[in-house]
Symmetry: C2
Subunit: 193 residues, 2 copies
């Protein structure tokens, strides 16, 4: 067993030993909201936004982007489990600002097989034009956090499957201070219509 696996299982045993009344928590989020944020290791949404177990849905991916999969999750969150307010929270010093699709393509081409994407998902790339470097993959990199928050809030707001009455708030988490900084243009774009 790896050191990491052992540490995780030991920490989990401690957590479960003092589980208390959390066993009785209901499935739907008690506070009826959801947060979409980055997978970054420095971010702990439960701590930075004050969530107890049972309070809110937390969706995380590289960048905290409003990918199709994040929107799949948000639609399920509201339609089946009753969330009524959503946050999009990107952050300063994000890894997604450090590269581009071209850089990622080069990195992968140097060490791995390549892939492409069509409507059924990811595939080994064939021999067609452009198939040598995985360049069809959109890694959802970020040039400006304010812009990416605005774009993602707008994408959610305008999505076919998102109801008009859910406000979407746009924020940036500052990894140097722990503070949430509003992106006013995003919150405005995400206002319930």
């Amino acid at each position: 067993m790896s050191k990491i696996l052992e540490e995780v299982l030991n920490a989990n045993a401690h957590y479960a030993a003092d589980f208390g009344d959390k066993a009785a928590l209901a499935l739907p989020p008690a506070r009826h909201f959801a947060i979409l944020t980055c997978m970054d290791a420095r971010l702990d949404p439960a701590k930075y936004a004050g969530l107890a177990e049972g309070d809110a849905h937390v969706i995380r991916n590289a960048g905290g982007r409003a990918s199709d999969d994040a929107i799949r999750s948000l639609v399920i969150s509201y339609k089946l489990l009753g969330t009524r307010e959503w946050f999009v929270i990107h952050h300063t010093d994000c890894g997604m600002e450090l590269f581009t699709n071209e850089i990622m393509s080069d990195l992968l081409a140097s060490s791995l097989r390549t892939a492409t994407v069509d409507e059924t998902g990811w595939h080994d790339c064939g021999t067609g034009p452009g198939c040598s470097d995985g360049k069809y993959i959109n890694w959802l990199t970020i040039k400006s956090q304010e812009q990416s928050v605005l774009e993602d809030v707008a994408r959610i707001r305008n999505h076919t499957l998102v109801p008009r009455d859910i406000p979407v708030y746009g924020y940036i988490y500052d990894v140097r201070s722990g503070r949430l900084l509003e992106v006013p243009a995003a919150t405005e774009a995400g206002r319930a219509a």
Copy 2:
């Protein structure tokens, strides 16, 4: 300002007021691993797996599924930010077990416009066959947690862009006890090759 927004910002102010040495954390995860788990409100991966800020990437979506977007995040996690072990952690009493693509399609058709998916993402559905109920969307529902963990670990293991030397561990989090329960067949399928 909504009550939820006010509560989140107040909690954040408290968190930031005692931020301490977290301001100095580095971008790459200090413990070099990543967890893919469900957005469920009852799950707090930092608590159930013993993560401090800075330790590990956490990727979350509805079900904790190995979607294309989750794999995008995992590939970035390893290739740019150095994670070397991955966990797939689904959980008991998951909302994704409560419905099917057909049920979701019916629910959405009754209240919203419909959509379909092609290689460029989600779209308003046109007038073609099958376009009346959003049935082209795969919601990644779950019939059996053991099966979904096994499938997702195998999908990651066999993915074109995932290197052979990263072990992928398969677990189910029990929402009644807080314990992580291994899915041995999944961990076996996710073994580094």
